[in-house]
């Protein structure tokens, strides 16, 4: 393992310290927790947004804290969901009395820990609501099982629900628009190399030099299939094929081409070229494109593509101002 760290068991602590030190005027750490919050929280008169999950997906989620997006993010251990007491601290730190909205990615751990925190908050009289993001089309959509994972599409939920809260949306309205994003967003990823959780010291799986895995999750969970490495155009075809087959995107969309940690932007742009061509061929209009690292998986090489189908409301909220360091608009 070759990493710029001090102690594999202290990485979350050290990262949070360094992050807050980088943005002292906009971020603060809730004392004795791994909760990062807007420096000016609780923001009076505004519904607050809390997200979080395992660490290792930076800039998700703490990079999305700022005016127009999240009020707080809870940083769990690497790839492990944060505990209810930590989420509860986040809720308490940002609640202004208007209620707190939780953005949860659909992993059993995240769902259970956030739900328990919500129960603790409700017991103290804090209004809470949530949305569960499940955009990964690589996993079968089923109500009998755990169902689809939440991946990079979550960033659109943060952006749009955050904008809604910023313009004075009520807790119900924020929930409404967040659910609309979840209903209209789909993603799929692929990986070229694994990643190493610092405390584990070894990669969680292996991929041969000439192999890639399609449909890989952001913690190295398995994909749909493992095959020989293909060209950027073929990869775009595969990911887009699955996404477009899953949902009717005719109309206008936002595109998010996301790097998983060690994929050069050059490669992301090469992939994006084909993504745009595929959309043009289908007559789908692209309203806005984002290319870069939005939800990573430590140093994994690979990418994901997300599409969000837009209407006027979503367009306006997507375009609204955001001062979050990782999503300035």
């Amino acid at each position: 393992m070759k990493k710029i760290i001090n102690d594999p068991n202290q990485v979350v602590q050290d990262m949070v310290d360094g992050l807050v030190a980088a943005f002292p005027e906009t971020l603060k750490q809730v004392p004795d927790t791994f909760v990062v919050a807007r420096a000016d929280s609780a923001v009076t008169g505004k519904v607050a947004l809390v997200s979080g999950g395992g660490s290792g997906h930076e800039p998700a989620h703490a990079g999305y804290i700022g005016k127009g997006m999240l009020d707080a993010a809870v940083c769990g251990e690497v790839f492990t969901s944060p505990t209810p007491d930590q989420v509860f601290e986040a809720i308490k730190a940002v609640d202004s009395g208007e209620g707190v909205f939780l953005v949860i990615k659909n992993y059993t751990g995240d769902v259970l820990n956030f739900e328990m925190a919500a129960e603790l908050a409700e017991a103290e009289g804090i209004k809470v609501a949530n949305v569960i993001v499940n955009d990964d089309v690589a996993v079968e959509d089923s109500s009998f099982t755990t169902g689809r994972r939440g991946i990079a599409g979550t960033v659109f939920v943060h952006k749009i629900a955050g904008a809604k809260a910023e313009v004075g949306g009520t807790l119900d309205e924020v929930k409404g628009v967040a659910e609309k994003v979840v209903a209209n967003v789909r993603s799929m990823g692929m990986a070229l190399t694994p990643c190493t959780v610092p405390a584990a010291g070894e990669p969680s799986f292996t991929l041969a030099e000439n192999e890639m895995e399609i449909g890989m999750g952001i913690h190295g969970e398995p994909g749909i299939n493992r095959g020989s490495i293909a060209s950027a155009d073929e990869i775009a075809d595969t990911l887009m094929g699955k996404i477009l087959e899953d949902y009717d995107f005719s109309g206008e969309v936002a595109v998010l081409v996301n790097g998983l940690g060690s994929t050069p932007e050059m490669e992301l742009y090469i992939l994006n070229k084909k993504v745009q061509d595929i959309l043009a061929d289908r007559g789908i209009k692209v309203y806005k494109t984002f290319v870069g690292e939005y939800m990573t998986s430590l140093e994994m090489a690979g990418c994901s593509v997300s599409l969000l189908k837009l209407d006027d409301e979503l367009k306006e909220l997507l375009n609204a101002e955001s001062l979050a360091p990782a999503f300035r608009m």
Binding site: T80, P84, T108, G109, L112, T146, S204, P222
Partner: protein
Amino acid sequence: MELHARDMVNWFELANEKIKQNKSYLTSLDQPIGDGDHGINMARGYQEAVNRLLAKEYSEPSEVLKDASMALLSKVGGASGPLYGTAFLKMAMAVKGKDYLDLESLSVGVKAALDGLKQRGKSETGEKTMIDVWSPVATYFSNPSSFHSNGLVETARTAMEKTKDTMATKGRASYFKEKSIGHIDPGSASSCYIFEALAEVIGEKE
């Protein structure tokens, strides 16, 4: 057979020992069908539970269970943190006010924990989760006249082994669908250690 507060503390100490000894094994079970953190999560949480329990004096079993539950909730993380936290909290609530636990009150406690797990995990037996161990164990407890600590160990081990044959429909392992068959569920293995530890505590009193 009477389990007092100090026996309950002893239960968590023994469970902690077993989890610590089998930390890498638990993690290795979580690697093929999960994210390889179960042993790390459980070891972190049980150590914290034992630290907290040893730092305090207890007069009631339910107080021990409640503090253990809170420690697990705040230290395990992942899916198993809230699940074990809920299980022991429900158990604590079900036996609240008792000076000691006999087989009957243990049975009530284990049943309450099982119901808590099902509710929290929105799952049933047969989904390849720790519920597959807790459920037959609760049934085994429900007949105190034929109860023996060896039988408890056997029930838990058999149930844990059986998770090998089932396909996961809940938790991370569900992403693997059919490929989850042939692997023991990590949460069932850790639950098995917990009941082996309980059997040891009960066994000393039989």
